[in-house]
C-alpha cells in the first residue's frame, strides 16, 4: 500500500545556497554587527582606538561584561532568565571582601566560599522557578532587589557605616592565587616584545601594554568551554532541549530540573567571578558594582543570537555581542560624538538584533 522507496533526491527540495546555510548559524548576526561597528569606528574614531593599548582598553570592560553574558546566554538557551546577576556582582563582592578583609582568609578559601555562596543563591533561584512554575523573570527580579539591598546593608555592617569596603589589595598581598584573578598576564612576553620594538613603548622603554588583563583570558576561556559544552557534549544537547521544549525534553528522559538549576548556578558563579576579578583589580568593593549589568549581559546575549524564548543561541555569539558592547562604550570617547549616544545606539542594536533573530528563527523552523 505504501511505496516508501522515494526518489533519492526529493524534487521539491530546493538546493540550499551557502548563504542560507550561513544564515542558520546563530552567531552570524553578532559577527556582522561587529564588522559594522568596527568599520564605523575605523572611519570616525581617532586612530589610537585600534592600537594595541586601545584594543586592550575596550576589551577589558567587554570581557567583564562578557563573562556575565556567557552565563546569561547559557541560561537563556536553557530557557530561563536571571535578572539578579548584576546584583550578584555586588553581593559576591561583599562576600569576597568580607572573607578577605574582615576575616583575613587566604584566597584559596575566600574564592571557593564566594563561588559556593553565589552558586547556592543561583540554585535557590532555580528551584523556586522550577517548583512554582513562575516565570524566571519575576523570581529573579525579586533577587535583583534582595541582593542589591543585602549588599548595602552587609557593607555597612562590615565597614562600620560606609557602602565601600577598602583594603582588599593590602589584605591579599602576595597570595599565590592572586595572579590568576588580578593584574596582567604574559608580562615578560610583552616586555620582550617591547625591547624588540614590536609593540609600542614609552620613552623609558617599558611597553605601553604590560600584559593581557586576566579578565580577557577568563572571558576567552569561558567562551571556549561554553561552546564546547553546548556543541559537543550531551549536557549541551540537554540545554538546547530544556530550553526548546521543557515537556518534550523531560518526556525524552532529559533531566530538565538538573540542567536548569545547574545553569542558574553557572550564571550566578559568572557574576561571582566578575566580582572577584573587579574587587581584586580595584582593591575595594562597593554596593553599586554590577549595576544594570544584568540587562547589558542579556542584551549582549540577544545580540549574539539567543532567542528570548530559549532553545537557540550560542556562546560565541554572546562573545561577539559583549565585544560590540565594549567597543561602543569606549569607542565613542575616541570620536567627536557625545558619549551619551551610547544608550541610543545600544537600544537600536538590541531592536535590530531581536528583529533579525526572529527572522532567523522562522527560517530555521521553516515557519511561514
Amino acid at each position: 500500500m505504501v511505496d516508501v522507496a522515494q526518489a533519492d533526491q526529493d524534487e521539491r527540495l530546493k538546493k540550499e545556497s551557502f548563504g542560507t546555510r550561513l544564515l542558520r548559524r546563530p552567531e552570524l548576526g553578532a559577527m556582522a554587527g561587529l564588522v559594522l561597528v568596527t568599520a564605523f569606528f575605523l572611519y570616525t574614531a581617532d586612530s589610537a582606538m585600534f592600537t594595541l593599548s586601545g584594543i586592550i582598553n575596550f576589551m577589558t570592560p567587554a570581557a567583564q561584561l562578557g563573562i556575565l553574558a556567557i552565563g546569561a546566554a547559557m541560561l537563556m538557551i536553557g530557557g530561563e532568565f536571571d535578572l539578579s546577576i548584576g546584583s550578584m556582582v555586588a553581593f559576591a563582592g561583599l562576600i569576597f571582601g568580607a572573607c578577605v578583609v574582615t576575616m583575613g582568609l587566604p584566597l584559596v578559601i575566600a574564592i571557593p566560599i564566594t563561588l559556593v555562596v553565589a552558586g547556592a543563591i543561583g540554585a535557590f533561584n532555580g528551584s523556586v522557578v522550577l517548583k512554582t512554575g513562575l516565570p524566571s523573570f519575576i523570581v529573579t527580579l525579586a533577587f535583583l532587589f534582595i541582593l542589591r539591598g543585602a549588599s548595602l546593608v552587609g557593607l555597612k555592617l562590615a565597614s562600620d557605616g560606609s557602602t565601600q569596603l577598602r583594603g582588599v589589595r593590602e589584605a591579599v598581598g602576595n597570595d599565590w592565587l592572586a595572579p590568576l584573578f588580578a593584574g596582567d598576564a604574559f608580562g615578560p612576553l610583552f616586555l620582550w616584545l617591547g625591547e624588540r620594538g614590536w609593540i609600542e613603548t614609552f620613552n623609558n622603554g617599558t611597553p605601553k601594554v604590560t600584559g593581557i588583563p586576566v579578565e580577557i583570558l577568563w572571558f576567552i576561556a569561558l567562551t571556549a568551554v561554553a561552546t564546547y559544552v553546548l556543541l559537543r557534549t550531551p549536557f549541551g544537547n540537554w540545554i538546547f532541549a530544556a530550553g526548546g521544549d521543557r515537556n518534550a525534553a523531560s518526556n525524552s528522559g532529559v533531566p530538565v530540573r538538573r540542567v536548569k538549576i545547574s545553569l542558574f548556578m553557572f550564571a550566578a558563579c559568572c557574576g561571582a567571578l566578575v566580582a572577584i576579578i573587579t574587587v581584586m583589580d580595584t582593591g575595594s568593593t562597593d554596593a553599586r558594582r554590577g549595576f544594570m549589568k544584568e540587562f547589558e549581559a542579556i542584551i549582549a546575549a540577544v545580540i549574539g543570537g539567543c532567542l528570548l524564548t530559549g532553545g537557540y543561541g550560542s556562546a560565541i555569539g554572546a562573545f561577539f555581542g559583549a565585544i560590540i558592547f565594549g567597543m561602543v562604550t569606549i569607542g565613542l570617547t575616541y570620536t567627536n560624538f557625545d558619549q551619551d549616544w551610547f544608550q541610543v545606539f545600544l537600544g537600536g542594536m538590541l531592536l535590530i538584533a531581536v528583529l533579525f533573530n526572529n527572522y532567523i528563527r522562522k527560517r530555521v523552523t521553516g515557519e511561514r
Binding site: M1, L231, R232, G236, N237, A248, G253, V364
Partner: protein, 273 residues
Amino acid sequence: MAQDTSFHHGDAPADVAPILEMRDIEKHFGNIIALAGVSFDVRPGECHCLLGDNGAGKSTFIKTMSGVHKPTIGTITIGGKPMNFASPREAMEAGIATVFQDLAMIPLMSVSRNFFMGREPTTGSGPFKRLDVDRMNDITMTHMREMGINLRAPDQAVGTLSGGERQTVAIARAVYFGAKVLILDEPTSALGVRQTSNVLATIDRVRKQGVGVVFISHNVRHALAVGDRFTVLNRGKTLGTAARGEISPDELQDMMAGGQEMAQLEGSLGGTV
C-alpha cells in the same frame, strides 16, 4: 483502504505471554477519578488498539504506562516483573517507549540532535567525553532512509519536516533505542491520507520486528487497518477487549461513543460518522 489486508493481522500467537501488563489501574487527581480500574496488556509482535472518545481517560492511561504518572492503585508488570516507575526515563529503560502527540521533538533542534535527545552517544573518556557527532549523524541518516525519508542533511531542523515525517522520526527513534513496547498516542490524528498510510505501514514494520505496539486512537478505521486486538475505554473504565474479526466497526464505534445517544445522532447523519 483495500490493500490494508496485506498486513499480517493475528500472526502473533495468542498464547504468548504479554510483555506489558497493567492490572486494575486507578488514577485519582484530587477528587477527580481519571481512571477507575483499567486492565490492559500487550504481547510481542501485536498491535493492540486502545480506543476511546475525548475525555475517556486515554491520555492519563498512556501517561501512567509511560511513567509520567504513578498509578494511585494497580500494578504494572513487564515480562512478569512488577514495576514502579518514578520517571519516564525509568520506563524507557525498561523498554517502554512512548510517542506523544507533541512527539517530544524540538523544532529548533536538528533531526540528529532530536533523534538522540536524552540518550546521546559519547566518545572519549573522563573530561574528554564528548558527543559522537559523526555517529549520531550516520545513524540518523541511515534510519531515516530506511523509513523512507531522505533528509537534506542530519543538521536539518525538525521544524522543517512535515507532520508525518516527524511522526516517523519519533517512531524510528523509539525503535532504534530498543523499545519492546511502543505506545503511539493518536499518531494519525493530524495527518493527511498519504501520511497516514505511511505511518500505518511504519507501525506494521515495527510490529514485524516483534515490538508490541499500543495504538491509541479515536479513529476506528485507522485502528481496524492495523490492529490485532481492540480495547475500548469509556469514562475511565475498559468496556472489554476484542480480537480482530470478533467485532465490527459499527460495534466499536458505538462502544466508544457510549451507545444509545450515538445511534440517534448517527441516524440523523445518515450513517456517515
